[in-house]
Amino acid sequence: MSIKKFISKRSVDSNTIGGLALVFAAGRGVAFFLLLILFVLGYYYMKSAERGKRYPIRRIRAFEAVEEAVGRAVEMGRPIHFTFGFGNLYSSVAPQYVAGLAVLSYVARLAGKYGARLIATFGVPEAIPIVEELVREGYRSAGRPELYKPEDNVRYLTNMQFAYASAVQATLIRERPGANIMVGPFYAESLIFAEAGSWTGALQIAGTARETQIPFFVLVCDYVFIGEEIFAAAALASGDPAIIATIRSQDVGKLIALALIILGLILLPLGLNLGNFLFI
């Protein structure tokens, strides 16, 4: 069967060719193999880093600015504010929330190191124990457990979007933080937070992988993690070379995506739609 016939046949009925169709859910076969390749690569890089191999990672200015922001807040005698955006821990944006938690863990360690007051605000009740643990652990690991005050450092606000936006805005205005760090899945509240933070004169670092909100952060904040950089920041925040090494598999994934785009562009004038093949 020619490639053209094969692809056009797949596009008509994805459940008719070979044994694969009996196993894979329609349209998910190629995606499974791509996912498998990335998982295997990620695991390989992680293990090779554990064996001592080091992979160079490009500088992320926003990540480097986090320590500067914490130091600035301490010098000004003001607190550090951290928030995650209106996402949750059980949908497609959960990984962004997890990335935000990892960055919070890093900020908490820095707050402990410099003796800064950290205020973490959020709107996901499931995250309360995690945030409490991360902030407590941050102060404890820096040898300053006495600085941890859960009623002040960890503030669950509400799980309603604009009530949460209003409460974060009020926190920023009342507490006047020296640094405002926002990493996670942000929706319409992003600009409300960024503008309120801007009014208080805080050094602002923000990041989200929700592409519609990135322009707002770029416009208002001092440093921004753009898209996937929040996941790289999460890995860098861990300080663990094995975790940092997994970023390399993201880069390989980007190369695969680029190759597929170029292949698609080459095949299109020949009357072949690569998209049909990818959704086998």
Partner: protein
């Protein structure tokens, strides 16, 4: 509970659940397995429901402290919040117990006449924030900023009736810009974010996300 169980117990549950959900997503499964998958997703909602209770208790604890200490500039707001929280919870519970549900009149009144207008008000504030952010964005300091201003104006006019009155071509031009230029700029970001999500998933499955307490 032993350290091993505390450390590896939750990790084992996460690993099993994530692998199970991945398998049911990618492979054709018998109906019984898919039924179990639906139940697993429901467990998530139930756990989230319990978390809401934890959240409510957390909020009460936080604000009762202000009330007890009579913290200047705060305790009155805390009182309003506590009363509102308890009142909404009480009317909502009565609605459930009596079988009326969320249409129970006092609960619906609170929601429609207090929560909805307040929510809409905060959302409306965005208009002013967008205006002040646009003012910063559209200051022409160099050639790319001028390009941004021109494209921004075209898109804005393309989305308003005034733009159509000035020149009907604004709307199709705005649509073309969004479908081609903006989409081309956004797609690499979306692809990169997708890859980041996959690798975060891998780190979570392997228990390497966040930090490890030794």
């Amino acid at each position: 509970m032993s350290v091993v169980a505390r450390r590896y117990g939750p990790q084992a549950v996460i690993l099993l659940m994530m692998l199970f959900l991945l398998v049911t997503y990618f492979f054709v499964m018998p109906e019984e397995v898919m039924g179990f998958e639906a139940n697993v997703i429901k467990w998530g909602s139930i756990a989230a429901g319990f978390a809401m209770m934890v959240g409510a208790i957390d909020i009460l604890r936080y604000h009762i402290a202000f009330l007890v200490r009579r913290t200047p500039g705060q305790w009155l707001y805390s009182l309003v919040l506590i009363v509102a929280l308890l009142l909404t919870a009480a009317t909502g519970t009565i609605g459930v117990v009596t079988g009326v549900g969320t249409t129970y009149e006092p609960f619906a009144w609170l929601y429609n006449n207090i929560y909805v207008p307040a929510d809409a008000t905060i959302y409306s504030i965005l208009v002013f924030y967008i205006a002040s952010a646009s003012f910063r964005a559209f200051r022409v300091r160099n050639a790319p900023a001028l390009l941004l201003l021109i494209v921004g104006l075209i898109v804005m006019l393309g989305n308003t009736s005034l733009g159509y009155v000035i020149w009907p071509g604004f709307t199709p031009l705005s649509v073309w810009l969004n479908k081609n230029i903006v989409a081309a700029a956004f797609r690499p970001i979306i692809i990169g974010a997708g890859l980041g999500i996959i690798i975060t998933g891998l780190r979570t499955i392997l228990g390497r996300e966040l930090y490890r307490r030794e």
